[in-house]
Amino acid sequence: MLPTLGGRIQTRIFLLCTVGVIITAILTPILPGMTGTMGERYTATYLILLTVLILGIIWEFIYHFLMQFRWEKDWPTLFGFITFINEGFLVWGLLLLGVVPGVDPAPPALAFWILFMVVWICVWAVANGPMRVPFIRWRFRGGRLI
């Protein structure tokens, strides 16, 4: 990808609010080990998604800064994928510490990582191709949608 800072943030918000919301809606009822009513489960998974989104915006500033050291000012496809490591572990750590509002206790590790990875892979896959089909100007505008 060839993002600008504004483009990064807009794309992340857009994709998590579309792809992320749909995937979470589908996965929540079948995640292993989740307890509570269906309403409580959805509350927990969507709050996790919201946490990923908010922390992600902070991460985007860091990625943007790191990108400045690259001559091409690009963000290789691989980077877009492997940043699941830092982002995933941060959210998981915060869940274990019980500091994510509304999610207590933390969901089982397996449930969290299935949800996180499926959302991550789908968002990453859409951003690296299909996104360009409806939004033909998106890739030439550094990922900005508006």
Binding site: L2, P3, W71, K73, D74, P130, R132, V133, I136
Partner: protein, 485 residues
């Protein structure tokens, strides 16, 4: 006046002057936006859009099976860039290696680039789909002039026998110019040598046919001096080295760089390009983000000297770092048959035994000579835009002026500045506009960036409907199923 001169007039809303990839890409966008073929005429003396490009790539050592220097998603035959070329080659060859390469580029592998043949075949399919040839009118464009009543006249000389008159005038509200490179320019010392000694065999340009050099070297051992540090030099070296290996030749390769890059270089820690062994390394013609990222956004706001400075910082001759090339050159240095060196040439002369001696001095002032059987000029210098009569005429009579790099100054919409005529507009894209608000104009993706800006501007002028997300998606499915539009 035109009618009084006996020149027949053809009316069409939009004229696309030039029949290369620039016009093809613009026509493709507009057809997808919904413009019927009857509203556009493409005026050109070539038969298919990739003709000139294929000629130039072939002579500069990129035949159809070889890979060009272009990104997987830069597809002149697909305005969405999806699916990328990688998918095509993956399904065709039933291997995952192409996918793995794009997923790991450029960190763990070289940038994946498509085969020239894949690109040409894709364009042929798309040209059929959009009825390209229904819009093509053969002939040589002579000039584009503003009309007193608004819009433009484009004067065309049809091929002999194709028309009753020597010229035909196309009257249109809009014109798009994509007439390619004005021409090649030789290095001054090589031009002088060719003219003085009338020798066009031993000093050649990489962009002109020069198979005789490789044929000669296959028959007897020889020495070649390669000049230039760009992609073409790398390609020519690859051919010389491949021949050397394949036929067991003893070819000696001298390689002269005007600027010899030894390490990472640039004005600050945030603007450092990698380099070594003479070369400045860069995946594509420009830093990638000129096509949509930070550099594109930044340049869009710059004018005059600030723009020229930014071009200078990102410019300079460069070539991609490909593992196989690096390996070959390291082998050549080790085995003493590849000799890269820095030097500025003073003169070239013939020797009594039919060879060429190049007198040059290096940056430390030391004078040196290099003796070779052939010199291949790979510097790829381009002629001034006034070498093209249409552009020259435009600068003289239509109000167009030069940008900070000496080419045509265009708006961010690619309208040529100061050439509006009534409610008409004149656009230009491609290499003639290098130096504008968008840097990568002379590339596949650059032509698409320009075409999209032009199509959107034409939509604002109500020439066509803007392409929104829904229509874009339905049009993509038509592309995917190869439905004619």
């Amino acid at each position: 006046m035109v009618a009084a001169a006996g020149i027949p007039i053809v009316d069409t809303p939009l004229v696309l002057a030039g029949g290369g990839i620039g016009s093809f890409v613009t026509a493709d966008y507009l057809r997808i936006y919904g413009v019927p073929t009857s509203h556009m005429r493409i005026l050109s003396n070539i038969d298919h859009p990739w003709q000139t490009y294929e000629y130039l790539t072939r002579v500069s050592q990129i035949p159809r099976p070889e890979r060009i220097r272009s990104d997987s998603s830069s597809r002149p035959d697909n305005i969405w860039g999806f699916p990328p070329y990688t998918w095509q080659e993956t399904f065709k060859q039933k291997t995952l290696k192409h996918w793995i390469q794009t997923l790991t580029e450029p960190i763990f592998s070289d940038f994946w680039t498509p085969q020239a043949g894949t690109v040409f075949k894709g364009m042929e399919r798309e040209a059929q789909r959009i009825s390209y040839w229904d819009m093509l009118v053969k002939g040589q464009v002579r000039m584009v002039r503003r009309r007193a009543g608004g819009g433009y006249f484009t004067i065309l000389t049809p091929p002999p026998g194709a028309s009753q008159t020597k010229r035909v005038a196309f009257r249109s509200q809009y014109v798009h110019l994509a007439i390619g490179y004005p021409g090649l320019r030789f290095l001054p010392d090589l031009q002088e040598f060719r003219e003085k000694y009338q020798d066009y065999q031993h000093v050649v340009n990489a962009y002109e046919p020069h198979e005789h050099v490789y044929d000669y070297l296959r028959n007897r051992p020889g020495t070649v001096l390669v000049r230039g540090g760009g992609i073409v030099a790398a390609r020519v070296l690859q051919r010389l080295i491949n021949d050397r290996k394949q036929y067991g030749l003893k070819t000696q390769i001298l390689h002269l760089f005007r600027t010899f890059v030894t390490s990472s270089h640039g004005p600050s820690i945030f603007k450092r390009r990698k380099g070594a062994n003479g070369w400045a390394y860069q995946g594509f013609n420009y830093p990638k983000s000129v096509w949509g990222g930070q550099l594109k956004a930044k340049m869009r706001k710059l004018d005059g000297d600030a723009r020229a400075k930014e071009y200078k910082e990102m410019g300079g001759t460069n070539t991609p770092k490909r593992r196989v090339w690096e390996k070959n050159m390291a082998e050549g240095r080790r085995e003493n048959w590849y000799h890269p060196t820095q030097g500025v040439v003073d003169s070239v002369e013939p020797t009594p035994d039919g060879k060429l001696v190049t007198h040059f001095h290096s940056n430390d002032g030391v004078q040196r000579q290099a003796i070779a059987d052939f010199i291949i000029d790979c510097t790829g210098l381009e002629a001034d835009i006034t070498e093209h009569r249409v552009l020259d005429d435009l600068l003289k009579f239509s109000g167009a002026y030069r940008n900070p790099l000496g080419r045509l100054e265009v708006e961010t919409t690619f309208e040529v500045k100061n050439t509006a005529s009534g409610n008409g507009a004149l656009y230009a894209s491609g290499s003639a506009t290098l130096g504008g608000y968008f840097p990568g104009v002379d590339t596949f993706l650059g032509l698409q960036v320009a075409a999209q800006e032009i199509a959107d501007d034409l939509a604002r002028r109500r020439f066509c409907k803007k392409l929104g997300p829904f229509r874009s998606t339905t049009q993509w499915f038509k592309w995917a199923f190869n439905s004619r539009i």
